[in-house]
């Protein structure tokens, strides 16, 4: 069970720690449970009030998360005010009227129910995860060379040669003492770049102008690591073509998804 599911005395709502919630829906679910409200008939004034009290102090959150809580506050206030509006008499366009004056809580309820489902599912996955953490298989002992050929139309020597070309270029060779460029971060960065370029990124463009020697080397190492993990593919079209790094495509691995269906 997660922290937010622990029962809190209702007088101490200020002790509810916002940062423990995954977001506004999580907080609302907590309130609904705590106040034993009917999720399909939420007393909107009451929950809005509770919600606003709890999010009074958003200082523990960063701006993004704080704004998510604020957007929900606005939604709640919007629903509350719509519910206060008198229902207009059935006017000209009836269908329109029916749709527009649907219970204003409708959408929120749908969201809350769906969210609570997945929250529960996540909990079940957590249990499986914990169990599986104690289980070891041969599959995990081995590197898994699954996926497409990591190099297309070139070999490792070509890649190294291309790297040497990069090194020959003009770089600001100021050596910064004790500069640290975590490989992991570089891997993440390259992965991010290629995942956003469906046609791949030119090898040369991976190396930023004005980078230090260390940065260039780390970039190259990161690239090799990505290729080794089969998360990136290096391609060269034609002998003197640009080497392009692209992400592993769906079509490369889609067969992995369906298990042995593809063997039939």
């Amino acid at each position: 069970m997660t922290k937010q599911e622990m029962a809190l005395p209702r007088t101490e709502s200020y002790t509810v720690r916002l940062e423990h919630f995954e977001g506004p829906l999580d907080l609302l679910l907590h309130l609904i449970r705590r106040e034993e409200m009917n999720i399909y008939d939420i007393p909107i004034a009451q929950i809005t009030e509770q919600y606003l009290i709890i999010i009074r102090d958003l200082s523990a959150l960063d701006i993004d998360r704080a704004s998510e809580f604020l957007v929900m506050a606005a939604t709640l206030l919007g629903i509350k005010s719509r519910m206060l509006l008198p229902k207009p008499p059935k006017l000209e366009a009836e269908e329109l009227a029916e749709e527009e004056f649907e219970d204003p809580r409708e959408e929120l309820v749908r969201q809350l129910v769906a969210y609570s489902q997945y929250k529960e599912a996540a909990q079940q996955l957590r249990e499986r995860e914990e169990l599986m953490a104690k289980v070891y298989t041969r599959t995990l002992f081995l590197e898994q060379p699954e996926g497409p050929a990591p190099l297309e139309g070139l070999n490792l020597a070509d890649l190294v040669k291309a790297f040497e070309e990069v090194l020959k270029e003009e770089w600001s060779w100021r050596e910064v003492p004790r500069e640290e460029i975590p490989l992991r971060e570089k891997i993440r960065e390259i992965n991010f770049r290629i995942s956003r370029s469906p046609h791949g990124v030119r090898f040369r463009d991976l190396f930023s102008r004005g980078g230090s020697r260390l940065e260039i080397v780390v970039t190259f190492l990161a690239l090799l690591e990505l290729i080794r993990q089969r998360r990136a593919v290096a391609m060269q079209e034609g002998i003197f073509g640009d080497i392009v790094i692209r992400r592993v495509l769906v079509t490369d691995i889609v067969k992995g998804e369906t298990g042995d269906d593809d063997e039939t």
Partner: protein, 198 residues
């Protein structure tokens, strides 16, 4: 006799295989038809449930795998590096939504969670549990995500139908509404919400 021989072969190939062995593959390698191969592997699986064993035959990610028993995890862990940290709450929620609703876009996941999911999606992709499976037609052609085979293995699932069932099918808005109608005792039942309005 021959049956036992087959089981011994099966045991050997299960240990040697770097990935889950499908019944089809087992049948090919041993030279059986698939029906017999399935019986054979189920037979071996049962044998491994006997006390006094350190291993298990488990069905996961589309095939059979020889695994260590969870109760001896701590010893194996001493031998090998412990497995990495579990997923964060946020990542797990995001993953659950993707698993049940795939293929799904980031915006759709955000619609369910009510928060941004860029970070979780990135983490899950890095860990190989989800991947881009294409693009949705429509404005912006957003990327759609699905789970991977590693996802199944990570949670020890046979296939996607092995996911724990959701208590309500949330893709069915009608169902949710019906639930509400029951509670809101005999309210005029307008059909569907804004999204259903076609």
């Amino acid at each position: 006799m021959i049956w036992n021989h087959g089981k011994a072969i099966l045991e050997a190939i299960l240990l040697a295989s770097p990935e889950p062995l499908s019944v089809k593959r087992i049948a090919e390698v041993i030279g059986l038809d698939e029906k017999d191969a399935r019986i054979l592997v189920e037979d071996l699986k049962k044998e491994y449930t006997q006390p006094g064993r350190g291993l298990l035959v488990q069905e996961m990610a589309g095939g059979y795998v020889l695994t260590t028993r969870p109760e001896y995890g701590e010893y194996v862990e001493k031998l090998l590096a412990p497995k990495g940290k579990g997923l964060s709450h946020a990542a797990l929620e995001t993953l659950a939504i993707i698993a049940y609703r795939q293929p799904i876009t980031k915006a759709e996941i955000e619609g369910v969670r009510g928060v941004k999911v860029d970070r979780s999606v990135e983490t899950l992709t890095e860990r190989g549990l989800i991947r881009e499976v294409g693009r949705r037609d429509g404005p912006g052609r957003p990327i759609i995500y699905g789970t991977t085979k590693d996802f199944l293995a990570y949670f020890g699932l046979k296939d996607l139908s092995d996911l724990p069932p959701l208590s309500v099918d949330t893709s069915d808005a009608q169902l949710i509404l019906r639930g509400r109608e029951v509670s809101a005792a005999e309210q005029s039942n307008g059909d569907g919400g804004e999204h259903q309005a076609s």
